[in-house]
């Protein structure tokens, strides 16, 4: 691996399908499932398919082109895989510094810690809660990703027992944490094939840690507290040593030094993405749970609160893995939602198809409701209607993927667009009545909609969770 100090050869933005096309076999054989090589090249550049999906390219005669493409498409931040099986986690793999430049891949992995001095009961309970954490959000299930096993005892035997217990009870990837190589090795021996992430090589133990990483074929964290020169030196040394999958930890400060932490993560990512620095082109790890070190006499909630916002900050500013101690719903929920938000593809509008949706069994007296086509609004409203076991029509207005309040403020949801949507939906031939329920947040449009569409407007609840109740109280056409 060579060290690149200069500019990256082709920035991700400049990479055009032509660059890829030129290196493909160009036979238009369609084995990849695309119409032709150019269409395939376009998808490759958009990172929608890996180049390995072109079978001829993998043949011997195209080996050089393949290697060249690999190099050309290599992300600025290396992708590292931790764990095995279907819960293995990919971290890093970033192509750009800012999400609007392309999109972010591999959402920040969230790890919850256990220690070798917690009771067996506690350990099992925390593992279980981590594994079972799940939240449904716009058609996705948000989950936690890893378990960090820490040695607080510094006793190899205790660590071995704990790692064994953890490995037997979860299929989540592990991060094994101890700065003592002997302790870490004991842990590795308890789960030798699980490809955990090792935490951490420092200026004092790097050689032993490197040996462990090589022997057990796993990834290794490089820890250089608030010292990027040392971090870079250690990375270079470890690469020379033969360890290829590294994860960078410049240290997480929770109070004083918070600014340094932000700066370090930012500089690492900028050096990798804009400067093409391969020594810093690795995933990063942040440790929001350092907030617990400054807890003192304060109640637990204070540490959890600080840990939660530190985590959020790290999710926004370039952390690829974070380790947390709190496994409470209220601290984790904002973070997994934030992570989902930051990692959605900005190239794709988060919108659903506008038009008419039918819920339950409808007839000519069924209520007619209206909402916007922002995916989140739509899914929320739809799930509230479904869980309330309500029957009725829902007109989804094309607001260009904007939520109700913003759509009203931004004139994307207006009396005109509403009236047009009623017409186009064809609902007028499906119901006898002419009563439209609009979102509470669009109340100010009610008069104008009535005027333009000729429909009578009922202002519905501000939150869709109240729809069932609203219909029960205000919709009497059932009788």
């Amino acid at each position: 691996m060579s060290e690149r100090e200069g500019k990256r050869k082709v920035g991700i933005r400049e990479l055009s399908p032509i660059d890829v096309y030129k290196l493909l076999p160009r036979t238009n054989c369609k084995e990849c499932g695309e119409e032709n090589c150019m269409a395939f090249a376009t998808k490759v550049v958009n990172r929608e398919v890996p180049i390995e999906k072109c079978p001829p390219l993998l043949k011997k005669e195209h080996e050089k082109a393949y290697k060249q493409l690999k190099e050309m498409l290599k992300p600025a931040v290396k992708e590292v895989v931790v764990g095995v099986g279907d819960r293995a986690v990919k971290i890093g793999g970033k192509l750009v510094m800012y999400r609007h430049e392309f999109t972010y891949f591999n959402p920040t992995a969230v790890a919850i810690d256990v220690t070798d001095e917690m009771s067996e009961e506690d350990v099992l309970d925390r593992i279980k809660r981590t594994g079972q954490f799940s939240f449904e959000y716009i058609g996705q299930t948000l989950k936690l990703d890893m378990i960090a096993v820490r040695s607080t005892s510094n006793d190899p035997e205790k660590f071995r027992t704990t790692v064994k217990r953890v490995a037997e009870n979860t299929n989540l990837p592990l991060i094994l944490c101890s700065l003592n190589p002997t302790v870490l090795e004991a842990g590795l021996m308890a789960a030798p094939k699980s490809k955990p992430l090792l935490y951490a090589a420092t200026k004092d133990n790097w050689k032993e840690m490197a040996e462990l990483a090589l022997m057990y074929d796993c990834s290794l964290t490089v820890l250089a507290p608030n010292n990027l020169k040392l971090l870079r030196s250690l990375t270079k040394t470890l690469l020379e040593y033969g360890v290829e999958d590294l994860v960078l930890d410049p240290g997480t400060f929770s109070g004083d030094g918070l600014g340094d932490t932000l700066n370090n993560f930012t500089m690492i990512r900028r050096a990798a993405c804009k400067g093409g620095d391969e020594l810093l082109g690795f995933p990063t790890i942040g440790v929001p749970m350092v907030a617990w070190m400054e807890r003192g006499e304060a109640p637990e909630e204070v540490a959890k609160w600080r840990e939660a916002y530190l985590a959020a900050m790290l999710v926004v500013r370039f952390a690829d893995v974070i380790i947390m101690h709190s496994c409470d719903g209220w601290t984790l929920l904002p973070n997994v939602v934030l992570r989902q938000n930051i990692y959605t593809d900005p190239r794709k509008p988060v919108a659903v198809e506008p038009g008419l949706r039918v819920f339950g069994t409808v007839d000519e007296n069924s209520p007619v409701m209206m909402t916007t086509n922002f995916a989140l609004t739509y899914y929320t409203v739809a799930s509230d209607i479904e869980s309330g076991k309500v029957s009725g029509y829902l007109i989804v207005v094309d607001t260009e993927g904007i939520a109700v309040d913003s759509a009203v403020a931004g004139r994307k949801l207006t009396a005109e667009t509403a009236a047009e949507a009623i017409k186009e939906s064809g609902v007028e031939s499906k119901v006898k009545h002419r009563k439209l329920i609009i979102p509470g947040k669009a109340a100010r449009l009610s008069g104008e909609i009535e005027e333009l569409s000729g429909w009578q407007v009922l202002v519905g609840p501000r939150d869709s969770s109240d729809i069932p109740k609203f219909l029960q109280e205000k919709w009497q056409s059932k009788t």
Partner: protein, 406 residues
Amino acid sequence: MPKNEKKKEFLGLKLSSRLMELLAKLQEVELEDFEMDVGNLEIWIQPGAVAAPMVAQPKVAPPVKVKPTEIIETEFIPPVETYPGKVVEVKLGATRSDGGTRGKPVIVGGETTPAFYTFERPTPHPPVIALDVFDMKVPLPKAVKMHVRDVLEDPAAWAKLAVEKFGADLITLHLISIDPLLKDASPQEAVKTVENVVQAMDVPLVIGGCGDPKKDADMFEAVAETFAGERFLISSITRDMDVERCAKFVNKNGHVALSFTPMDLNLARELNRKLYDFLPKKDIVMDLTTAALGYGLDYAFTNMERARLAALMGDPELAHPMSSGTTNAWAAREAWMKMGSEWEPRELRGPLWEVTTALTLLLAGVDLFMMMHPAAVKTLKDMINQLASGSSGNADALAEWVSMKV
């Protein structure tokens, strides 16, 4: 649906013409010297290298690497950049000597680097927080209400509490009672409320409207004239208002305009351009729309981050301090709703929702936050102070968490 079909067709057309374009370019490219185009991978192209027979490396014998025995020292040069653009500085609130009555002004903007890239340059003016006060009883989330229960119907007392107890840098007075759909109060009644609030405390004021373009303009004008010289932030001037009229009374009476647009940088530029005809740049703050965590925060974040980077790269039409209606975080049902015991207590989940929304946007470059929950405000404030002060921590203790007993 005919409309959608049309859309798809249009998209198809666009795609295929793009393909044509690419193919046209390809012909040119192929005539060119190939090696130039593949960047520094040219080695492969060199005739000698192409002709060289490929020798498969036997896997068993990799080149022998000498394992280092010492740390190989390298340098680290901080990747510092300079930017041609600068965000304008805007002063909010005027003291007596300046023609107003406020205790001290608040200055926002002035950045020459992305938010908290303090390795490049320090933050010129740490972001500030305005607390919301409403002029009539509004439905508030339980977690917020418990802190302001006693002052809900007294905006002056509410503002005083927000400044003295919750540390507000500014007060946003939402004059929603003028809404024709609510109380339809007159601009003169609004002026009276402002008078009471102005008397009760001395931080700079943001004057919030009700969202009705006509009524807001009338109210803003009355307030602007009565309190000429105070440098209130008039929140907000939107595209569907009589922009010329608003800009003129803001300018004539010595206030500042908040230029509000719905998540579209081109619209923001357009509205700002309109304002430039009547207002100097230093009298404009912009609001690019804040969506709650989970409800479009990704748009808001990226929109603001792009705006700030564009400003630094020299786009003058976006080089204004940014304001965020962070209170919108509470529009997320996860912020206030009862959700089942594993997600409780919502008294903490709610303000954390607001904090998370706020700090995400803090890192995108927001200068002025309009917020609601006292705990969220305090947290954000502490964080801003921490980041802006550049205090350093003890690096030696950084690894201790590994063996920390919780």
